[in-house]
Each structure stands twice: as C-alpha cells, then as structure tokens.
Amino acid sequence: MTELRRPLRVQRPEPQVTPLTAPFWEATRAGLLALQRCTACGRFHHPPVPLCPECHSSSFEATPVSGRGTVYEYTVMRQARVMGFEDLVPYACLVVEIDEQPGVFVVGNLVDAPAADARVGMRVAVRFEPYGDEGLQLPQFAPAGAEES
C-alpha cells in the first residue's frame, strides 16, 4: 500500500533513438550539431526523413552545421502543464532556422538568457547540455555573441 501512495517520479522524456535518428544523437556526444544531409542533392533535412523530399534519394550523411541561426518562431510556456517541466516555467522554446539552409528548423530552449528575452529574428548559437544517463547531449540555443548583432 505504501508503494501505491508514493508519488510517481516523472522524468523528462528520453529520445527513442532509431537508426534514422542515431547520427543526430551520436554527434551530440562530441558537442556537434549534425543534421541529416542528402548526399545526392546536398539538402539538409530535420527531423530526419527516409526519403529526400526534394530528389527522392535515400542516401544520407549526418553533416555538422555551424549551430548558428535565427529564431523563426517561439513560445514562452508560463504554466506547469508539461510533465517533468513543472519546475522550469517560464521557459522559452525556440524554433531556429539554421544558417546553412532556409526552411530547416531545429527546436531548443533559450539558455543563458531569461525566457522573456525570446524574440522572432533573434540570433542564436547552439550550446550543449548533458541529457540522461547515456552520454547524450541536448542541443540548446543561447543568444549569439555581440559580433552577430
């Protein structure tokens, strides 16, 4: 009975890494943001796809990118509505368009700055934070340095 009354220990979700997504996550161990790139037409895709929507090739290579980009859209979550993230509110989620290719977006939280600083058009650069017990790291985004603005 005591077991049943113990509150659930909710953890932040772990990515279920598959062969398609493994190159992305493996690169994070070395602190690299590497995105799926079609070896036939050279286009980046994220999230990884099984078939290039541009040229229909299925030959890909995870390719490191600069980790720099511009906030395309964002939100600041102000309520404790997501399990495992209750203590973090308010937190900003950014949709970052990477410099290497328009229309390719990576999601991350805003770090090294208050959530309220998030803006569309803000220049950001990737940061990595350890995530889970497997040695993976989570790409996050911080305001880019002064040389960017």
Binding site: P13, P15, Y74, Q79, V82, Y91, V104, N109
Partner: protein
C-alpha cells in the same frame, strides 16, 4: 472544374447534445442524444440511417480509452442507436468532422447509402486535455519533447508568434474578434458561454498560457456532441426541412513541410491548397459567401483562414477583422454561433452546424439576413482539415 456531384447532396438535419464542462453523462450518451436530435430534425428515424461517418480521435491520450465513455466509435453508435439498416460506415483519422462530412457526401453521391449520420463526440477529461505520458519521446517528438515542447497550446503559439512578428499583428487587434465572438455567443442558447459576454479588458488581462496565447485564446474542453444528416438532393426535397445543398467540398489540408513543429508557412501553404480546391470544386469564390464559419480552436485561426480563402490579402487578416466587418450585421459575418471559443471544444461542429442552419434561415436573433451561401471549415493543417460550400438553392 466544378465537381460533378455539386448540389446533388444536401445536409438536412442537425443536432447538438447538452454541452458542458463536466456533464453527468457519458460521451456515448451525448452522441446518441445529438444524433437522435439530428435524425428527428430531418424528419427521420434511426431505422432510416444506412450510413455513418465519424472522426473518433480521443481527447485523452494513452491508456484508458473506453468506447462510449471517452470516445465514440461508429461501432458503438451502430449497436447502441441501433442502426439496423446500415450499409456504409467510415471512420477517418484526418480532417476532423469536416473530413467525416465530406466522406459522407461522397458516399451518398455514389449511392453507397441514402441517409448518412455524421457526428463528433467530445469528452472533457479530468485533468488536462490531450495529456500523454511521454517519458519516451518517439519519432519526431524526440526533437521537441525533451524541451518541454509537447503541449498543444505551445504547438499553436509558435506559428502565431511568427504571424505577429511578420505582419505587426497585436493582441489588441485580435480582441476585436474575441469580444464580438462572445457577443454572438450570447445569441446562441446551445453555447456553454451563452451567459458570459466579455470585454476587451477581460481579454487583455487573460492569464497567459504559452506566449502569445492566453486562456481566452483557447477553446474550453467540454462534454458534448454535434451531429448532421446527409442525403441526396432528391430525397431532401421530400423531407420537411430546407436542404443545405453541398455545392463544393474538399478534405485535405495537412501540412507536408518537414519540420519539428508546424510553421506558419506550412500552415498557410496547406490552408491555401484546401481553399483553392474548395473554390474550384464549387465554382464559387469569396465574394459569393454570406456566412463564414471558420474553425477557431485557437483564436487566431480564423484570421489565417480569412487570408487562405482570399477574403483578404496575405497578412491582412488582423486588419480585416476590425471595424465590425466580421460582426453580425457586417459584410462578412464570421462564426455567428460563437464557434468553439463560445460553444466549447466541439471540434468543428459549431462551424458545420451553424453554416447549415444559416442557409436554412433558422438562426433566430443571429440569422444573417438573406443568407444563401455559407462557407464552413473545420480542422487544421496539423490534423488535416476540410471545408464545404453550402447553398440554399441547388
């Protein structure tokens, strides 16, 4: 090209169940209640119904879905009504209730059935709507869920943030629509917020959930169901009701751009694709429409659909909703039922049913004078959406 079945099928009956935050009735009971009202509204009985179409997606994700309790499948309805003479049934996973309605129109036109029942039953779960225990982030969610980015309000907040930044749209501008919509709601006795008008200040002070969306930008989860009856134009003329002829319809509108979340561009691309197909299938355009019924599960959606359907130019929706233009009595009366923001989270049935009733001329104090053509749209480019043009005259 105008679709070959234009005006050969009509919506003839509509009905809502009781609607409330947490009702003392199962989702199945409410689905039966709404369906019986729709069937009787058309002058029919359940024994006449030989087709059924639904979008059953549950409002409680993960474990614990029970047919008839928190979702209502066509199987539940078939054995509970019961539908003894069923010849056609359909259950879709995209396009919400508008998709179910479009499928029923096609089935009736093809002769697969004569009288089809279409419904959408909603359950308001204890705790939060659509919550899933996502300790393992699978598929594309592995690129969002680890960031605490797995809440529906957040998903919709992002394209709205882009819209505001790109076009200089403000919450103040949107408040015009919100306040007017609640006024419409006071004219609709079926609406859950029937007796709760709000002012501009109420909206501006509303608690933020996920910037830029506040509580009053979100529809409220309710228990309730809306149902419609579809038949051929010939059969419709023998019924004791005014038919709402289906002049054009389409169900698609899923975004196909590859991104971790739905972007504004992806929303607009697929919305325009749906709008273009519906105008082509109907042979009509924005200047023909008397009654606009555009899905408003989140407050800013109608602005985007106004643009997609060509009622105004790209990026002009936030200006178009000013100056009483979309109010009852304006040139483009929008969501006279109060929509989902006023009636509760009924996933598009407020739009579909209001459009039918406007064409039938039975909306009482909120009737659009001389309404002959209604545009109804439900769903979103995330879940798929569909739209229909309904006409008073075949």
């Amino acid at each position: 090209m105008v679709m070959p079945i234009s005006n050969r099928v009509a919506v003839v009956g509509t009905g809502f169940s009781r609607i409330g935050r947490h009702l003392d009735a199962s989702c199945g009971e409410l689905a039966i209640e709404a369906s019986r009202r729709a069937v009787e509204d058309a002058g029919l009985s359940f024994d006449d119904i030989d087709g059924i179409s639904n979008y059953p997606n549950p409002s409680r994700l993960g474990a614990g879905n029970v047919d008839g309790v928190d979702l209502v499948t066509v199987n539940y309805m078939t054995r509970t009504a019961p539908l003894r003479n069923l010849r056609w049934s359909c259950s879709i996973t995209q396009g919400t209730v508008s998709g179910s309605l479009v499928e029923a129109v096609h089935a009736v036109a093809a002769g697969a059935c004569n009288y089809a029942l279409v419904y959408r039953a909603m359950y308001s779960p204890p705790g939060a709507f659509g919550i899933a225990d996502v300790r393992l982030a699978t598929g594309d969610a592995q690129f969002t869920a680890p960031y605490g980015f797995s809440n529906t309000v957040m998903m919709w907040a992002v394209p709205y943030s882009r819209y505001m930044a790109r076009y200089g749209a403000t919450r103040e501008e949107l408040s015009t629509f919100i306040v007017g919509n609640r006024h419409n709601t006071t004219l609709n006795p079926d609406a859950v917020f029937h007796d709760q008008p709000i002012g501009r200040d109420d909206y501006m002070r509303s608690t933020m959930v996920a910037d830029p969306l506040s509580m009053l930008d979100c529809d409220m989860a309710v228990d309730g169901c809306g149902a419609l009856i579809v038949t051929t134009a010939e059969r419709a003329r023998d019924l004791p009701v005014t038919p709402a002829y289906v002049t054009g319809c389409a169900s698609l509108g899923v975004g196909y751009d590859n991104a971790p979340v739905l972007t504004l561009d992806s929303f607009m691309n697929s919305a325009r694709r749906l709008a273009g197909t519906v105008w082509e299938n109907s042979g009509l355009g924005p200047t023909d429409v008397d009654s606009l019924n555009l899905y408003d599960g989140f407050s800013f959606f109608p602005m985007l659909w106004l643009e997609a359907f060509g009622f105004c130019g790209e990026g002009e929706g936030h200006e178009f909703i000013q100056d009483g233009r979309v109010a009852l009595g304006g040139t483009h009366p929008l969501n006279t039922s109060g929509g989902a923001l006023g009636m509760g989270r009924l996933h598009g049935t407020p739009q579909l049913i209001e459009g039918v009733r406007q064409v039938q001329g039975r909306c009482g104090p909120r009737q659009v004078e001389g309404c002959e053509i209604a545009l109804v749209q439900a769903g979103s480019p995330l879940h798929g959406s569909g739209a229909l043009v309904l006409s008073k005259h075949a």
